[in-house]
């Protein structure tokens, strides 16, 4: 016992617990509960049936009261564990409830009615996953269409983002030309103009270009990102120019130099930008909300918001759809966590 205790509580730098250790661990445990708890609660709730969601206080796990079909009754009856007056415990099926008295029958012998005070009965509960929360919205609410739209926007935007920004970064890092400083300042200046500031005029431009109510209208306005250009440029600056000189000796065209030599060598930075682009596009909300008005063009985020904003919120569907929307991001995070956190720390973007 003592050895185990020592193993668990042993720490570097001395045996005694400094009070700062206590503060630190309290903060960590609090963080664990507060940061992960809500998402876990959402996931647990999404598997509950509609009636279980209305229960107060809610149960932790998705539980439902067991039912059984009983001879002589059209609907399956709910089962309860009942303590009878003589102290005997039996499992009975409830026919109806009148005030504080429940009329019950023995499911195997439905002839005789037994009256039980409701305080003496406990529902027989089992864990049951309400998978219909997930399957029904897929059929009824164009959820798959939203999903497809989101995937289309994310993939297309990311591919274009990588190509367009890496081309600009290549020109700005590997060529000396007049006006390079001006171009860099021009790109830097776009940092000062976040989307909400030019929401109205971008909408007007999109209408001039006839891209309103089209997924390309969602994709195009933000494929060129200043952070992307600078991230890639910084990386390309570290690639030795001798490589390019050697390729020129071998009569490679500038385009070939870009995509056969520079792009493969920039792969780590491209990967970071790709991960961020996927996150940005998958989670994007305000711009698609403005530019898409037809329901069948909605992305997941816009569709989910519209569905959750309906007058009569059907939480059992909303929760399940929220879990599905969250799922790709969680999967990416679990596998690429190291990339993402180090990417954020070095570039300061998100």
């Amino acid at each position: 016992m003592g050895a185990i205790r020592r193993f668990i509580f042993r720490r570097r730098g001395g045996d005694r617990w400094h009070w700062t250790d206590v503060v630190a661990w309290t903060w960590l445990i609090l963080g664990l509960v507060l940061m992960l708890g809500p998402a876990i609660w959402l996931t647990l709730s999404s598997f509950k049936t509609r009636s279980a969601l209305n229960e107060f206080p809610p149960t932790l796990l998705p539980l439902t009261t067991e039912t059984r079909a009983v001879e002589g009754f059209d609907e399956p009856l709910e089962l309860y564990r009942v303590t009878l007056e003589d102290g005997e415990e039996r499992v009975l099926a409830q026919v109806r409830r009148v005030g504080i008295v429940a009329q019950m029958v023995d499911p195997d012998d439905p002839g005789e009615r037994i009256e039980v005070p409701i305080a003496d009965r406990v529902p027989v509960r089992t864990t049951e996953l309400a998978t219909e929360n997930f399957t029904e919205p897929l059929e009824r609410f164009a959820f798959l269409t939203f999903f497809y739209n989101s995937v289309f926007v994310t993939v297309m935007a990311t591919v274009i983002t990588l190509i367009v920004n890496s081309m600009a970064a290549f020109a700005l890092s590997k060529y000396q030309f007049r006006g390079r400083g001006t171009v860099l300042i021009f790109i830097l200046a776009t940092l000062m103009v976040p989307l909400p500031v030019i929401l109205v005029p971008i909408y007007v431009v999109i209408n001039y270009l006839n891209l309103f109510d089209s997924l390309w209208g969602v994709i195009l306005p933000t494929v060129a990102t200043p952070t992307g250009v600078f991230l890639l440029r910084q990386y390309m600056l570290t690639i030795p120019d001798e490589l390019i000189e050697a390729a020129r000796m071998d009569k490679a065209s500038e385009w070939k130099i870009y995509w056969r030599i520079i792009l493969p060598l920039t792969a780590p930075a491209l990967a970071v930008l790709a991960i961020f682009s996927v996150m940005w596009r998958w989670n994007d909300f305000l711009w698609p909300l403005v530019v898409l008005s037809q329901r069948e063009l909605y992305t997941l985020q816009v569709g989910l918001n519209a569905f959750a904003g309906e007058l009569n919120v059907q939480w059992h569907y909303v929760l399940a759809m929220t879990v599905l929307t969250m799922l790709p991001v969680v999967v990416i995070f679990v596998f690429l966590q190291r990339f993402i956190t180090s990417g954020v720390a070095t570039t300061g973007m998100k």
Binding site: W27, T190, V197, V290
Partner: protein, 345 residues
């Protein structure tokens, strides 16, 4: 040894799979190569530079710079027409409408009461959320900077909400704050009375601030953590030899050296707070009443969601917001430039 290195790379199944995946891309790139080689041969290297820069510049031009110009023109026009040719000039009328107030401290005395409600709510939000997010991120970064096992795991835990979409964040917390929700159940379990959290203007603002702090704290934690890790170890060793207590080392070494990073965090958080919209919009819808309606929501609603949409008014409001953001961003860039100079020097 030489056998190993001379084996062609494509022989492994993974490499051939990757080659197959990139095959369409290679085809396109090779097809483009012909005309581009011709371009280079005819017009020289400069043409290629222009070619490499053009897509990026075109998108920035069409979707950032052009809109900026249109926005200014738009804010001086009125009417319900969408295209610029059809709109009528009204001078400063849109701005006058926004500033038409009897008493600037009371939004309800203004003609555009929703605008001023948005301004004051955004200000309240900024003043409370920025310190909250900076402080919690600081504590978390200090805790995560300690030597302990599973640091990567703990860092991931605190960073996790950053990746969730604002809609998901809003819905997760809306569900917890429901009348029959988890929070009320927990309070009941402690013998306390719950309430309809999002139906009360004070609590709605509280939760808007709480939830956006929850969602973004991990991001700033990582930045601060990078700042903490750049503080030289030997400073602490020297302090330890002098018998300096841990809290004193924190106060005298860590915090002063972390201040430049903290400044970046504060300004980044401010820039984001001015633009706060989506997670609060999903969580509260701006309600109850207009008590959590932010500036961006006013722009969105005036320009796009209202029945009688007024794009000119929305443009004027967004220009006012843009001016504030421009000052903040210049401040950020100035600090970043000073820092890189300090590092270089």
């Amino acid at each position: 040894m030489t056998d190993e290195t001379e084996r062609p790379i494509t022989s492994t199944p993974l490499a051939s799979l990757r080659a197959a995946a990139f095959w369409p891309l290679r085809l396109v790139m090779n097809l483009i190569d012909r005309p581009l080689t011709w371009l280079q041969a005819t017009f020289g290297q400069r043409a290629m530079i222009v070619f490499f820069l053009l897509p990026n510049m075109a998108i920035f031009g069409i979707f950032v710079m052009l809109p900026l110009v249109i926005n200014v023109i738009y804010s001086f026009t009125g009417g319900s027409a969408l295209f610029l040719d059809d709109r009528v000039g009204v001078g400063f009328e849109q701005y006058q409408t926004l500033f038409d107030c009897r008493d600037f401290t009371d939004p309800f005395s203004c003609r555009q009461d929703a605008f001023w409600a948005g301004v004051y709510n955004t200000l309240t939000f900024m003043l409370l959320q920025v310190p909250a997010v900076a402080l919690t991120a600081l504590v978390t970064a200090l805790v995560l900077n300690r030597e302990m096992r599973g640091r990567g795991f703990w860092r991931a835990i605190f960073f996790f909400p950053v990746l969730l979409s604002p809609v998901v964040v809003g819905l997760i917390w809306k569900w917890i704050l429901e009348r029959n929700g988890l929070l009320n159940a927990l309070l009941n379990g402690l013998g306390l009375e719950g309430t309809v959290w999002l139906g009360d203007s004070f609590w709605a603002m509280f939760w808007a601030i709480f939830v956006s702090t929850w969602a973004h704290m991990g991001f700033y934690t990582l930045i601060l953590l990078a700042g903490l890790q750049s503080i030289p170890r030997d400073l602490y060793e020297a302090a330890d030899m002098d018998g300096t207590s841990r809290p004193r080392a924190l106060l005298r070494i860590t915090l002063p050296l972390l201040w430049p990073t903290m400044l970046v965090v504060l300004i980044l958080a401010l820039i984001r707070a001015v633009q706060i919209f989506d997670e609060v919009y999903v969580l509260t819808g701006g309600g109850p009443g207009t008590s959590t309606q932010m500036l961006v929501q006013y722009i969105y609603q005036t320009g796009f969601a209202a029945l009688l949409r007024n794009l000119g008014l929305a443009a004027a409001a967004s220009i006012l917001m843009g001016l504030v953001l421009m000052v903040l961003t210049l401040l950020q860039l100035g600090i970043a430039a000073r820092r890189s100079r300090e590092v270089a020097g």
